[in-house]
């Protein structure tokens, strides 16, 4: 079991480290703490309410789903040892791991899976993940270690949705989940259990000695709540934190010291999110595809990345994570060509008839505003670059920076915007149905009101097909359609830039990030910093 979760890629480096460390205690002993920081306090650790990133991060250490993503973002078993997909994807049969125990000692069985499912679909439980399970027709417990899930129709993201953390029936039966103390004293099956939560200060998690994949090497995981990013960086510099995400400026300019290079390892890989400029397609200004193409052509994406991210990012071409199976490598970023953009706009009837430098059509100036949310400097700077570039082809742009709550309620929900600069997180399952399908235009997340019969058909097919190969074909085509139609101008994918203290060995960057094998990280005995005094 352990051998399987041990990443093969990391083998060669592993032996090198062992010999250079030359520690008496052997390569991977238990001990030491891992101290990290979060800007916000986790809200709720119950997996189906853990929607903020702070909660999700902790919740993942405490709970397990039936399946999980491995380092290459492929689905693999977690609490389910294996599964069978039957009847063309209508039925999934999960075979659960035997001998798994909850952190309080009670055995984990299929009853817990059934209970979790019931809660997820209970109208009284306001979980945002309920939608994933609406397509389930029935869930049957065949025996304590076998669960059969039947779907109303084949649903590709179905399997991935079972990555949802399973909660213990024996502790939560009859409890009101919204006010249950369980949210702050969770009991899961995961590698760590929560031992202390001091509001506004820190959360401490202890290694679960009975974890089914083996006890994690790091004894304690501490998440400090440090709300100011500048302070986080200072805490990192004083080695009070073992890991933190760096900003592009910190990565490029403020971590060059000999001390930092010697103490911390820096990583760089594409983050799971893309930033885009979305056009309100109900607005006559943007209903013409040529206009959107022209704007896309006149925006210097490379320059945006070089200026706002100091080059630490890549041009985005569509709503799929670069390098994954759904992403079509053939789709090339639009070439920056303001002259051609000008010609296209002319063709579409826009010209500068009064010589003031701004294009007109039927007496109306080409002028619109870009909306973005407060608190994100990168987005604001991107808006400014777009403003400057569009000015050069005769389009006047205003920038509106609005506080988040107001932004959603007053502008996005009511569709009172012309263009918006925003970002989407990319979930592991690539299905972008909620974002681009025309049925999601009202009250859903297709707030730009994109409606394309071909995209609709592809989106429906993409979630109906089960085989990854067939889905890949569909999504590759969708990628092309979105690129041709340009309902969004896809701007960039930022790089994630974590730094990790060098005493941790076994850290490895993969498409899934660096945390995927956290339970296999270890610190050679002589280098341990914490938890030593207790042994005295």
């Amino acid at each position: 079991m352990q051998a399987r979760s041990f990443p093969a890629l990391f083998g060669a480096g592993f032996f090198l480290l062992v010999f250079s460390a030359a520690s008496a205690a052997g390569p991977a002993g238990h001990g030491d703490f891992f101290v990290t920081a979060s800007i916000a306090e986790p809200v709720n650790l119950i997996p189906f309410f853990a929607t903020d990133s702070a909660s999700a991060q902790i919740s993942r250490l405490v709970f397990n789903g039936l399946v999980k993503y491995d380092k290459d973002l492929r689905l693999t078993g977690d609490l389910a040892e294996r599964w069978d997909v039957l009847d063309d994807g209508l039925v999934i049969l999960f075979h659960l791991r035997k001998g798994v125990r909850w952190q309080d000692g009670a055995p984990f069985t299929a009853e817990d899976v059934e209970f979790t499912f019931q809660r997820l679909t209970d109208p009284a439980v306001p979980t945002p993940y309920g939608g994933d399970f609406e397509k389930v027709k029935s869930l049957r417990v065949l025996d304590p270690y076998t669960v059969e899930v039947t779907y109303k129709e084949p649903f590709a993201p179905a399997l991935a949705s079972w990555g949802m953390g399973i909660v213990p029936r024996h502790l939560l039966r009859g409890e009101n989940l919204l006010s249950a103390g369980f949210a702050r004293k969770p009991v899961g099956t995961g590698p760590y259990r929560l031992s202390r939560w001091k509001s506004g200060e820190k959360l401490e998690l202890e290694a679960n000695p009975d974890y089914f994949e083996g006890r994690p090497f790091i004894d304690r995981y501490v998440c400090r709540i440090v709300p100011d990013p500048a302070t986080i960086f200072l805490e990192l510099l004083t080695e009070n934190l073992d890991s933190a995400g760096l900003t592009p400026l910190q990565y490029r300019r403020q971590t060059q010291s000999v001390f930092f290079e010697k103490t911390f390892a820096k990583f760089r890989y594409p983050s799971h999110a893309y930033t885009y400029l979305g056009y309100n397609l109900k607005n006559p200004l943007f209903s013409d595809r040529r206009v959107r193409k022209a704007i896309g052509m006149a925006i210097p994406k490379k320059e945006i990345i070089d200026v706002t991210l100091l080059g630490l990012g890549r041009v985005s071409t569509g709503p799929f994570l670069p390098g994954t199976w759904a992403c079509n490598p053939e789709v090339q970023p639009t070439v920056f060509d303001p002259e051609k953009a000008g010609l296209i706009l002319r063709e579409a009837g826009w010209r500068d008839s009064d010589g003031d430098g701004v294009l007109e059509k039927e007496g109306k100036k080409f002028s619109f505003s870009i909306l973005t949310n407060q608190g994100n400097e990168t987005r604001k700077m991107s808006c400014e670059i777009i403003q400057k570039s569009l000015r050069e082809i005769g389009i006047e742009v205003q920038i509106h920076v609005v506080e988040w709550g107001t932004f959603l309620k007053e502008f996005i929900d009511k569709k009172r915007f012309e263009a918006a600069l925003l970002a989407w997180q990319l979930p592991e399952d690539p299905d972008p149905y909620d974002i681009f399908h025309s049925s999601r235009a009202d009250g859903g997340f297709n707030f730009i009101s994109y409606a394309s019969p071909e995209a609709d058909r592809l989106l429906e097919e993409g979630r109906r097909l089960i085989s990854e190969n067939e889905r890949a074909g569909v999504y590759h085509r969708l990628h092309e359609v979105l690129n041709e139609d340009e309902p969004y101008t896809f701007l960039y994918v930022e790089d994630a830039l974590p730094a990790v203290h060098r005493r941790f060995r076994g850290v490895e960057a993969a498409p899934a990030g660096i945390g995927h094998n956290f339970i296999r990280w270890f610190v050679p005995d002589p280098e341990r910093r914490y938890g030593v005094e207790r042994a005295k």
């Binding site: 929607t51 979980t127 702050r184 200060e201 440090v226 004083t238 988040w404 309620k409 997340f445």
Partner: protein, 326 residues
């Protein structure tokens, strides 16, 4: 005196209710609601789930009904549960109070202890170099952005010298420490926050003390005292200072609500889990019960502070006292 106190106290009730009505209306007028903040653009959050949230929070009812309900619970001192994490609002506020109170009490004490002598010294030496230095120094401290000063101090003492902790209130190993070690640990953590907040607050009180002292020094009774040949020290520190302190008592009373009001910027930089951050976060998540809880507490303390200031002045000033008794 007694009836004056009661009258003032009764007058506070409608004022308090008025404040709550205004606060309640204003926070509900702010665009967006708790369910929107919670959905936070999560593509999985369906419209039904959002509506369900609104129902659970009771936000689908008319505003007046919600307010009446809130007042009914307030009468039992029940502030409800946070929309964000379902915890009792009283519990959340109670957790945030001690550290904020400690820092504010310490820095307020420091401000008065240092600010009043500085102001008095300035007034006594009016126009001379000492006065100029004090004025320039306190104003410089006042004009410095607190966040900048805080980061600078952290960078020097925390990062370069590694003499003081960078942020937080406790060390990682706090729970394993002895009583004395804990005391030292907290003191080391609070040194910079208290320093920063008192430095920036020094200017106000010292200017105030200076002005008040100057006013007193221009009074006729001071001239009389000097004419009588009373030693200058006695004139200054007994006759003048005694009267100059009266408005400062009012100021102390007005600082009472400030004791529980944390500064967001500074609590954020120093990672202090105090009232400022609690309030700030609850505003951004539109966590109405917590917002109202903090506002009510603030209103209550402001009114109480005003009352205490008035009663304190009345007690200190014989004229008010006799005027009321007659």
């Amino acid at each position: 005196m007694k009836s004056y106190g009661w009258k003032r106290l009764l007058g506070l009730v409608p004022l308090f209710l008025g404040i709550t009505i205004l606060s309640f209306a204003v926070i509900h007028l702010a665009p967006g609601g708790p369910s929107d903040a919670k959905a936070a653009f999560n593509p999985k959050m369906t419209a039904q789930a959002r509506d369900r949230l609104r129902e659970i929070y009771g936000l689908d009812r008319p505003l007046l009904v919600q307010y009446a309900d809130w007042v009914r619970r307030l009468a039992r001192l029940d502030f409800g549960r946070s929309f964000v994490d379902g915890r009792d609002v009283r519990e959340k506020i109670a957790e945030a109070i001690p550290v904020t109170l400690l820092i504010n009490a310490l820095s307020l004490g420091l401000i008065f202890l240092v600010g009043i002598p500085l102001g008095v010294a300035g007034a006594v030496h009016e126009g001379r170099p000492l006065d100029r230095v004090i004025t320039a120094g306190t104003l410089a401290a006042f004009s410095m952005p607190a966040f900048w000063l805080a980061l600078l101090l952290i960078s020097v003492f925390g990062v370069h010298l590694r003499a003081l902790p960078v942020s937080g209130v406790h060390s990682l190993a706090y729970e394993e420490m002895t009583w004395a070690e804990k005391w030292v640990d907290v003191a080391r953590h609070l040194l910079l926050p208290v320093l920063v907040s008192s430095l920036t607050g020094l200017a106000g009180i010292s200017r105030f003390a200076r002005g008040s002292m100057l006013d007193a020094l221009r009074q006729n009774y001071i001239r009389t005292a000097r004419a009588k040949g009373i030693p200058e020290r006695r004139v200054l520190y007994r006759h003048a200072l005694g009267n100059a302190l009266l408005p400062i008592i009012t100021l102390m009373g007005l600082s009472v609500p400030g004791l529980l009001g944390g500064s967001v910027i500074f609590e954020t930089i120093f990672s202090i889990p105090g009232m400022g951050r609690l309030f700030f976060n609850s505003v951004f998540t539109r966590d109405y019960p917590v917002i109202m809880g903090v506002l009510v507490l603030g209103a209550f303390l402001t009114l109480l502070g005003n009352l205490l200031a008035d009663l304190g002045t009345a007690a200190a000033d014989p004229r008010t006292k006799t005027g009321l008794l007659s």
